[in-house]
Symmetry: C2
Subunit: 356 residues, 2 copies
């Protein structure tokens, strides 16, 4: 078992100085061709690779991005990670992953763990508990320490950082408009509680779309599900939706803010003897495996998770490599605040069998 070899060992072995080795390996022409050859051959033989940690310490940057998300067993988030990893790798960065598990405390612990030199910047999506508490001091603290953050999907405006969001609002309008065009008259909305920003925006889009078509929204047609209660409890969810359908039997269209609600709605509809899409059409938000493989397959508003990840990574790395140059001088402290971008990823409707 030969442990990793270091410059020092090569130097000792070949009886030259450490810096000679270093220079020879980086191909500096300060060093004679002879010694360069010799050193490079030796290094290759022993498979020398510079130690990342030493480089990180020296360069004061780790070439590593920290991802902090609420949950990983989730199609959307894993798609985003895939996107981040893709461009990060292409641009020479590694990716370190932390999970908040929707908990405020775990979010903070994870951030502190990573912010102490392990990474150059964060890409994150805020946990539900944090959104509920509206306590964002840890984000601001991190930013104030000079560590850039890119937020995606679940963001809050008040934080000064780059953001990548889905056009939840417009996506919902598109979805509801499609239901209207295809003949639905009484369109129900199945959504989450308001504190999840995306839930709120999607609800707004639903309302706007109805009004634009001169349809008066009916609050009885809106079902708000407290997913902190339901979550994994599938039966509760089914029952809740079943009650909802039974007390509103004129419903002929459903817009659900995620695919689970949409698929469950389809299941309940079928149970009640309704045929999809003839009696009732369904569209979900968030395109994942469920939508694709459900029967009938589900028409959805796709969020392009991978693209969100790619854009987030590019945004972060751009900023990191920009700072590299400016680094030292900042005449105007506020100048940097003006530059934060918010990229909006357009949604796209993927038509499948649950709509006419």
């Amino acid at each position: 078992m030969k442990r990793k070899i270091t410059l020092k060992q090569i130097a000792r072995e070949l009886d030259v100085s450490i810096s000679t080795v270093s220079k020879a390996l980086s191909g500096s022409k300060e060093i004679s061709e002879d010694t360069t050859q010799k050193i490079q051959a030796f290094a290759k033989l022993y498979n020398y690779r510079p130690n990342n940690i030493a480089l990180s310490l020296k360069n004061r940057k780790t070439k590593t991005i920290g991802i902090l998300i609420p949950e990983i067993v989730h199609h959307f988030f894993s798609t985003v990670i895939r996107g981040i990893e893709l461009v990060a790798n292409k641009r020479g960065y590694n990716v370190i992953v932390g999970l908040s598990n929707e908990s405020f405390t775990k979010e903070i612990i994870n951030m502190e763990m990573l912010a102490n030199g392990s990474i150059d910047g964060f890409i994150l999506s805020i946990s539900k508990e944090t959104l509920l508490k509206q306590d964002y001091h840890h984000f601001n603290a991190t930013i104030n320490q000079g560590m850039p953050i890119v937020m995606f999907d679940r963001v809050v405006n008040e934080i000064k950082c780059d953001k990548v969001i889905v056009d939840d609002y417009k996506g919902s309008i598109k979805a509801v408009n499609m239901l209207i065009e295809k003949g639905s008259k009484n369109i129900a909305l199945i959504t989450t509680m308001d504190y999840v920003s995306v839930g709120k925006l999607r609800t707004q889009g639903y309302l706007e779309a109805l009004e634009a078509s001169k349809i008066v929204p009916d609050s009885n047609l809106i079902l708000k599900i407290d997913d902190s209660l339901v979550d994994e409890d599938l039966e509760d969810l089914e029952n809740e939706i079943e009650q909802f359908f039974k007390s509103n039997n004129k419903i002929d269209g459903v817009f659900a803010v995620n695919e689970l609600y949409a698929v469950t709605a389809m299941k309940v509809a079928r149970k009640l003897g309704l045929s999809i899409p003839d009696d009732i059409q369904v569209i979900g938000f968030t395109d994942g495996v469920l939508s694709k493989h459900a029967t009938p397959s589900l028409t959805t508003v796709s969020q392009h998770g991978q693209k969100i990840g790619e854009q987030s990574a590019d945004l972060l790395i751009d900023r990191l490599e920009l700072e590299e140059d400016e680094s030292l001088d900042y005449t105007d402290e506020n100048e940097r605040n003006e530059n934060f971008k918010t990229i909006i990823i357009e949604t796209e409707i993927i038509e499948r069998e649950s709509t006419k």
Copy 2:
């Protein structure tokens, strides 16, 4: 914007030496209570945290685990990551993720990128291309450098490392036995190509189970799908399965080695006018979202991905922290080879609506 503060800065500010600060902060009683107080107060005020990179360099360990998996947008793998992250975090480790995307080359690149000091050890699952090529030199090279590896799910025996595997063989037997007990006479198998080790084992289990019940396996009842071709191409998959069903119309039970095949089989069966589970029963391997939310919901063999992750992480960290002690002396080089464990995670059948 106050950048992260260092020992040196505190020392300068308080007009003491760096080592005094270091000692005071670590609560050493070499330092007078007075100065300790003063220094700790100052450190807290400026939110001092030791720099991880510097610590890593000094201690020659990063407290970081490298995960290398073929694909992240995949319920099983993300479940495993969740498990790893859970115990890693609990035991004070971070987790860095690399994706091979089933490619041999990307697997190697990723390993080299991480093996140069960024991590203390690997937890990985081998890419399909690597399994096909049967070229494992990069794993051996890494191990020989003194970096421990834990392999999970897709493993190969010849590599000297800890392993965590699913009891694919026994799980399949259980599944097929259940189909037999519940009355299926002609049980089909939908599987992958043989080079994926888990596919092979599951096929073996299927055959053994049949034979144990004195049923002669019929090769016409086995469908091997080349998923390097199919992959995302859902229609191809459906067509292939449909042809299979049509040319074997006596099939009244299906065991599929993953949930996608199982769900697709159900879809095709329904299309052909078969009712589930009355005309045909279906069981899948790998319990994921699809199984749970399919209609009818799918009976599956659960792999307990999270548990696999937890065990893998414990195994790796145990070894890392063990080495810490022994580190220096190894009288017998081979001794360490004897110690590698293979943990087998028992599968469990989750009964749902696709079986009687």
